[in-house]
């Protein structure tokens, strides 16, 4: 018997772990919808929104209500949940306003408290059982990927997450609105001295970020199931993602999400014993080598 050539080893590895890798990508893209808003809000407003996970979960529940309970289409469910997320962001902006000059701790306590309230409200309305939204009918099938069958819905989640990453990147890097945002991250006071209402820009980013989190909750619902505790779980994962990627960086959030998705899925499939600490291990390794995160600048 001959040892397989290196060229053959890779396809072998891919064959055995394809499903884990794809699952990792799907989870990674879900995390990106959470992390990108969290990161933008932190970069621009210097606020770490710990209620972001609760808005993710509530977005999922709102869509569950619309799609499963009311029997509406997926499109309507997504639209209502995204609108809910945006309104939640605007409300959060109003709640944060009186303490905008205080430190991180006050803001963290406020958003953390809000997260508890929102999660409890969700339990009152939707109970503590697992709830799920069936994926759209046209995606309820499997597709052959490199010789193996894989759920079409998860591939769609990957596609949507990837498209979202490209759109957000282009808007921030290539448009006038994006230029205002980048400038405000660097020197908020100077942007306002140029005649731009920075408060309004921040509110818009907050609403956009929370709308994306709610959207993530909807497209995540068929994969993760909705239940109390999911909010904290995705929040922690998203926080690890932006710490790894670099706070405020969109490419960082994207790469961080892919890394954490793979650690969560492929890493645990390969080294199950490492499951309890693989996530934090990944974070510690990145921070030890690059304390500012992979794409961070400060």
């Amino acid at each position: 018997m001959t040892t397989p050539a290196v060229g053959a080893a890779l396809p072998g590895f891919l064959n055995e772990n394809l499903v884990s890798i794809l699952n990792g990508l799907a989870v990674g893209m879900l995390l990106f919808t959470m992390a990108v808003g969290l990161s933008l809000i932190f970069g621009l407003m210097d606020v770490l929104n710990l209620a972001h996970g609760a808005i993710f979960l509530l977005g999922g529940y709102v869509a569950y209500q619309v799609i499963v309970k009311e029997g509406q289409s997926w499109l309507v469910g997504v639209a209502v949940a995204v609108a809910f997320g945006a309104v939640a962001g605007l409300a959060l902006g109003g709640i944060l306003r009186p303490i905008r000059h205080r430190g991180h701790l006050d803001q963290a306590l406020l958003t953390f408290g809000l997260a508890f309230v929102l999660a409890d409200l969700a339990t009152i309305f939707w109970g503590s059982d697992f709830q799920s939204i069936p994926s759209p009918v046209f995606l309820q099938r499997s597709v052959e990927v490199l010789g193996q069958f894989y759920p079409a819905y998860r591939l769609a989640v990957m596609g949507v997450g990837f498209a979202l990453a490209v759109v957000v990147y282009l808007v921030v890097e290539r448009t006038q609105v994006g230029a205002v945002l980048r400038a405000a991250v660097e020197d908020r006071a100077m942007v306002s001295a140029l005649g731009i209402n920075v408060g309004r820009v921040m509110l818009a980013v907050l609403a956009l970020g929370t709308a994306l989190a709610a959207f993530g909750g909807v497209i995540g619902a068929p994969i993760l199931s909705l239940s109390p505790g999911v909010d904290a779980e995705v929040l922690i994962l998203a926080l690890i993602v932006i710490v790894i990627g670099g706070l405020g960086s969109i490419p960082g959030a994207f790469v961080g999400a892919i890394v954490i998705g793979q650690v969560q899925s492929l890493g645990i499939a390969l080294v199950p014993q490492a499951a309890p600490f693989a996530l934090f291990g990944a974070m510690v390794i990145v921070l030890a080598v690059r304390p500012e995160g992979l794409f961070g600048s400060r």
Partner: protein, 235 residues
Amino acid sequence: MIEPLLDIHGLRAGYRRSVVLQRVDLAVQEGQVVALLGRNGVGKTTLVHAIMGLVQPSAGSIRFGGQELSGRTPDQISRGGIALVPQGRRIFSRLSVEENLRLAHRSRDGRHDLDSVYELLPRLYERRRHRGRQLSGGEQQMLAIGRALLANARLVLFDEPSEGLAPKAVDQIAGLIAGLREHGLSALLVEQNLHVALSLADAVTVMTKGEIVYRATADVFRADPETARAFLGVG
């Protein structure tokens, strides 16, 4: 007598625990360049920030074009017709030159647009795709001034425009401001370089410890070197 373009009375302002401006009275007439001189730390930048709305006054009034500015936000004041060329230039280092300029171009119906600024500052046109951080100090200052021009403001606040620049760049910037002055610029010019300040100003005010202690026309000030020595510690 017509009301000055900028008219400050009894202004008191500062930061959380310290009052920097005690009682400032200052006026800039339409078409006039007023130099504000004084040693480091006497409150010149705080005054500029108070006019721009970046520091909230605790007493007194700032009237601009007949309207009270106290209590307004910087973006409202900017849209009302005051532009700032800040100390340290504060251009956006990660944005391209052109992005920096477009950000500042709010009103479309003024004397300056992107083309006219590039015409006035051809160096910026050459470097329009470069990031702010890739520019030399002199180029950054040109960009800061270009930004202020694009606001099409009625009054420009220059805070130490020659600070930290090579002598050649200082001459360029001074020449640029002199050219703007010939086109009727109204400005408050904070400047440590006495030579530059006197070459550009119609009137001179001197500040010590949060108060204006001297005001005269530039001609009178030039003829009175004792004053300069007394207040500024220079000859």
